[in-house]
């Protein structure tokens, strides 16, 4: 083993050239391995120079071929990883959006069609915020954990809110128009109608549904984004690609 304390000019030039080659690796890879690779190259170059007196063209051809192959492989891997990370928030958003949408369908069905019951009504009204909190927060958490960014968590939460809202609002209007007669006889609906001062029960039911849809749209998007971001904060902390 040689002592490499003195550095000839050719070694400095070689290191500069090798550092230049390292620039072609993906940023994350370069940050993790470029200093280590440069040190290993330095050791290798110094040994070859000490053993052979000078470094041949064959050395550079071998180094160039290996680096070219490795740069291509790492760039491809980085591209693949990037696509996977890009997609991860979409997957979480779709999955939790469908789950929250299903919860909203159940909510609208019970709320409009079940026999009026104050306890059930209270449970129902409490269950929706809890479901939103869980679904948007978890979407954000998993989205950020996989991608390693809070932004991915926020997007996952927003997508959850958006998808669940489309499902929920569609279900609300479908139930409203399909079961108009049943809703007309709902005790809570009758009480609300009497308080509204409107003359037509059907108009009240449609307006009530439209109001509910508008509020749900705003709330689901805002809460989706905020909760997704909070979930994302936790997820990013636990992300392996942090």
């Amino acid at each position: 083993m040689k002592n490499h304390s003195t550095k000839p000019a050719s070694a400095t030039r070689a290191e500069r050239f090798y550092s230049f080659l390292l620039r072609f690796y993906p940023v994350a890879y370069r940050q993790a391995y470029a200093p280590l690779m440069l040190q290993t190259f330095r050791d290798y170059y110094n040994d070859v120079q000490a053993e052979q007196g000078q470094v041949s063209i064959g050395f550079w051809l071998a180094v160039g071929a290996d680096e070219l192959k490795s740069i291509l492989r790492e760039q491809l891997a980085s591209l693949k990883e990037g696509v996977m990370m890009k997609d991860s928030w979409k997957k979480q958003g779709i999955l939790f959006g469908i789950m929250l949408g299903a919860a909203q369908i159940v909510y609208h069905l019970i709320n409009n069609l079940a026999n009026p019951n104050l306890t059930l009504n209270n449970i129902l009204n409490d269950s929706i915020p809890v479901s939103v909190l869980l679904c948007c927060g978890l979407a954000g958490y998993f989205g950020a954990k996989k991608a390693g960014t809070i932004q991915a968590g926020t997007y996952a939460g927003l997508l959850t809110g958006f998808i669940s809202n489309i499902i929920g609002v569609s279900a609300l209007f479908l139930i409203t128009f399909m079961f108009m007669d049943t809703i007309r006889h709902n005790t809570f609906m009758i009480q609300d109608f009497q308080r509204s001062g409107l003359k037509s029960m059907d108009q009240f039911i449609v307006e009530d549904a439209m109001g509910g849809a508008a509020v749900a749209t705003c709330v689901s998007l805002v809460l989706g984004g905020v909760l997704g971001m909070i979930g994302g904060l936790v997820g990013k902390k636990l992300s392996p690609s942090k």
Binding site: K2, L36, M37, D43, D66, E67, S70, I71, E74
Partner: protein, 116 residues
């Protein structure tokens, strides 16, 4: 043994790196030299291949970083050392066992003599 069998057969690069680390922790250049020596010069692992393999082996938890230390035989710069994980040891063992079985089969069937 279930985990090991999912990791085998190993690529030549991964196998030789595991083999190089079987006798203790080493830094990048030591691994490179050990691979060349173990393969009798058949496997000349370049820097790019070495660190690409190290990256994947770290992700697969076959090896782990053992810290940055000085190499007393080289200059006064620190180098990152790597060592086998228990999973890496199991994977290497499973691969060597696979090789041994192949060698046994070759001997049983006298395949080398037939080919010669």
């Amino acid at each position: 043994m279930k985990i090991s069998t999912t990791l085998t057969p190993l690529t030549p690069a991964v196998f030789y790196i595991l083999l190089a680390l079987a006798n203790g922790e080493k830094h990048g250049y030591e691994i490179m030299k050990q691979v060349k020596q173990d393969s009798k010069g058949q496997v000349k692992m370049g820097n790019g291949t070495l660190y690409g393999s190290i990256k994947r082996m770290l992700a697969d938890q076959l090896i782990e970083a053992a810290g940055d230390k000085l190499d007393p035989q080289l200059d006064h710069k620190t180098r990152r050392y790597y060592r086998l994980t228990p999973l890496g040891q199991r994977a290497l063992q499973a691969e060597m066992q696979r090789y041994q079985e192949v060698v046994g089969l070759i001997q049983t069937r006298s395949l080398l003599a037939n080919l010669a």
